[in-house]
Amino acid sequence: SQTIHQWPATLVQPVGSPLSLECTVEGTSNPNLYWYRQAAGRGLQLLFYSVGIGQISSEVPQNLSASRPQDRQFILSSKKLLLSDSGFYLCAWKPGLALDEQFFGPGTRLTVL
């Protein structure tokens, strides 16, 4: 069966520090991968999605970047965090080319102080 992992679960970082959040999927190949951010009490904002290794589509211009170095690995990064980067970051996957649901990871709660 397929599983999706995210780490760390929680993170507190000072303004101006770098960021690296990792997401990995097991039990499937060539998935579509997604990064979302959820502000407190709000909906999900699509940040990036990827349909293959090295292919990244950015939805919102911002202080973040994403990379997909391996088929089942998706990384969210920042060189210098801003206060506004605080939030709940969710990674998700879905079978590529399929009209299907997304499967979400447990999320990373990021607090920038």
């Binding site: 579509n32 997604y34 979302y36 009490g41 709000r42 909906g43 999900l44 904002q45 699509l46 999605y49 349909v51 589509s57 939805e59 709940f88 969710l90 998700a92 080319l97 399929a98 009209l99 299907d100 649901e101 997304q102 499967f103 979400f104 990871g105 447990p106 999320g107 709660r109």
Partner: protein
């Protein structure tokens, strides 16, 4: 923006009552999905309805889709305290991208 919007933002009911949540969106879609999120957790998929479908059932869930009005509704029948969560609709622009609404926060009182 194609983002779906749920209505109401918050809903409080007694256990055993039915809960109805609505979702509106702006452009044509291939499918619409409903997800549930318990506080501080990831989202769990509930049901998917395709653009050529009008109604779908899954257990105590009933989803309708009206593409002419660009709206969908999620009905949870005979609600339980364990149904307390936030519910989101998600629409796709193509088969790869999804847009989520801001959610309905459901509180089911025992």
């Amino acid at each position: 923006s194609q983002q779906g919007e749920e209505d109401p933002q918050a809903l409080s009911i007694q256990e055993g009552e039915n809960a109805t949540m609505n979702c509106s969106y702006k452009t044509s879609i291939n499918n619409l999905q409903w997800y549930r999120q318990n506080s501080g957790r990831g989202l769990v998929h509930l049901i998917l309805i395709r653009s050529n479908e009008r109604e779908k059932h899954s257990g105590r869930l009933r989803v309708t889709l009206d593409t002419s009005k660009k709206s969908s509704s999620l009905l949870i029948t005979a609600s339980r305290a364990a149904d307390t969560a936030s519910y989101f609709c998600a629409t796709d622009q193509n088969f790869n991208k999804f847009y989520f609404g801001s959610g309905t926060k459901l509180n089911v009182k025992p």
